[in-house]
Subunit: 366 residues, 2 copies
């Protein structure tokens, strides 16, 4: 448990075609590294949430395309096989825009490959590049977001800055730095007093499992709360700013993020607390406008609500939380309308959550 | 598990000075009846949430005063002993107005008792009366609330009426009928199609544990959801009305209820969905106005957030949900401002959530 895995995905030493990731389903109780050998194993790792978080899903899918090329090159019906792999990759997490983005980036580049050997080399290079790009993007999001915290800290005369966050948009959802965690880590490194309220984020508890774990690793003071608590804390002045991530952002600034984000945005708005969303521009879907009507919301297994995994002292155990016969429903995301969002933190700076704001930073999408 | 305990508290057959209650911490997995012999055991049962829910806490405290009289009558320093018991009863759940109300009702009546024997008889009679009164009050709340559901059902031409609820304000929180469940049960008995979205209600999961269990017992269709899900369901027209209970209501209509209620009120308001609070008038604290500044909010053990109890297949097991070293915070309630509440359902009918509305039904408090 003391091993600090700096990155969340990497090639295995001495065998660059085996991909290694942290099994995020075992955190915070066990740090287990998983070897991934095939594109199907990439699909499984995304589907069963061994890896999660929009940027990391994109990076993982990047290696998925590389492995699909390697496998296709050995297959009699190489093009049919390759297409099947890509379709399965696409279907692994329907809400994750980074998934599609990474696949398209690969497919675009692969057009230049004249044979499978060339395609493998291209896909390999692009997959690595997706990772390096993400690290730089996250660092820059931190540079953009840091002044928000600095201003609050100044206004509070150096007293602790209290940040509330939902789910995990930290380095575990990315490669390094993370998105919402990047300004927090940079502030903490600079010696600013920060404290993070960590929503546990039912049903999969990514806040309690992942955000709390990585903040512990980084030495950042934090307190875990149930998802119900944020409104009360905001009513009583215990939250200075809300930072959340996003799985998909529309051209107009609507944000699809982990289920429950919308409720925190409402509470922040009602209490005049700034609410910022951190996003690499790859999570912007420039083709859609209305998040509520246009973003498909993934429905997951009811067992994620009915059962929970926890540490019984010696191992991870699954326990039942409801009457055995009761049904449960499990929508993975909700959409926070742009009107509730103070600003978007991107790798090119901060902008208003609307089309004008986004286009001011990304004029190439005009 | 098939036993349907009609009431939640009663005197033991053949020994009326032993009080029996359902151990609500074991539901929905085991139905266990607990014998309570002393006032201290009453205090413990309230404190450790063997019993919970404002009206049931009041009823339990009523028997607590009776047991305190019995014990005091056998004690050398009977008045000192009795006062100590009452103080401990008062301190058992600081947010529960029914607790104070039941104790005061007993103490008022006890003034008529000339000796401990008379006091025991009075306390015994009043304790039983508190229970009968609660049952009638809950029935009447149902009579008041039923037309809300009937109107929605008519507007939907008999299609299913979807009610969202938080925590447990069903019969398990009362004696029979419950508060928010009373109109639902009455509608269901009348043949109306109803379906209840049950917030699991972390950290103690009273929704998943208790509301889902009692709706199962009553045969009412329901679906358990995480506390994060309600906003999404409301955004997509899947909720027709929100019904919640209250632990304490101010003269101006502010409502203190289980932590997270405020977030659901915000979402209902944002989506123009009616939000009703069911309350026996005993939960109104006529002495206070501003819920946010005047209602003390109980802080409970961080372990209720860090650990959860679930059924491992053979027994209830406690598992850890966070890094072992991470801190957690655990506020028990939040306050929903009156401005977000469509109406209050009381035993005397429905009124607006403000002083004028409440006084129109309860003019004796003018």
């Amino acid at each position: 448990m003391n091993t600090y895995a700096k990155r969340t995905i990497w090639r295995k030493e001495n065998n660059p075609n085996i991909i290694q990731v942290i099994d995020q389903r075992r955190l915070p109780h066990e740090l287990i590294i998983v070897d991934i050998h095939t594109c199907q194993e990439i699909v499984d790792a995304i589907k069963d949430m061994t890896v999660r978080g929009a940027p990391l899903i994109g990076a993982t899918a990047g290696y998925g395309v590389m492995l699909a090329c390697i496998e296709a090159s050995k297959n009699q019906n190489s093009f049919v096989y390759f297409e099947k792999c890509i379709n399965e990759l696409r279907a692994s997490r329907p809400t994750a825009i980074n998934l599609f983005w990474a696949i398209e980036r690969q497919l675009d580049a692969l057009k230049e490959g004249k044979n499978w050997q060339e395609k493998i080399e291209i896909a390999s290079k692009i997959a690595d590049q997706i990772i390096e790009d993400d690290i730089e993007v996250c660092r820059l999001i931190g540079v953009a977001g840091l002044p928000i915290l600095e201003k609050i800290s100044q206004n509070k005369k150096g007293e602790v800055v209290n940040i509330l966050t939902h789910c995990n948009a930290g380095r575990l959802g990315c490669i390094e730095w993370g998105t919402i965690s990047s300004p927090i880590y940079q502030a903490h490194q600079n010696g600013m007093k920060v404290h993070v309220w960590v929503d546990e984020t039912r049903p999969r508890n990514q806040g309690a499992n992942l955000t709390a774990w990585e903040l512990t690793q980084a030495g950042v003071p934090h307190t875990v709360i149930v998802d119900n608590a944020g409104g009360h804390l905001m009513q009583h002045g215990m939250v200075d700013v809300v930072f959340v991530g996003t799985d998909r952002t529309t051209r107009m600034g609507d944000v699809a993020n982990k289920i429950g984000t919308y409720l925190k945005a409402l509470a922040a708005f009602d209490n005049q607390i700034p609410f910022y969303v951190a996003l690499p521009s790859t999570t912007i879907d420039w083709t859609i406008k209305n998040g509520l009507t246009e973003i498909p919301i993934e429905e997951r297994s009811q067992d994620e609500v009915k059962y929970i995994y926890g540490w019984n002292g010696t191992s991870l155990e699954k326990v039942l939380l409801t009457p055995i016969t009761s049904k449960a429903s499990n929508y993975g995301f909700d959409v926070t309308p742009a009107r509730l969002i103070t600003g978007l933190m991107t790798e090119r700076g901060i902008c208003a959550a609307n089309e004008e704001g986004l286009l001011s930073l990304f004029p190439e999408y005009k």
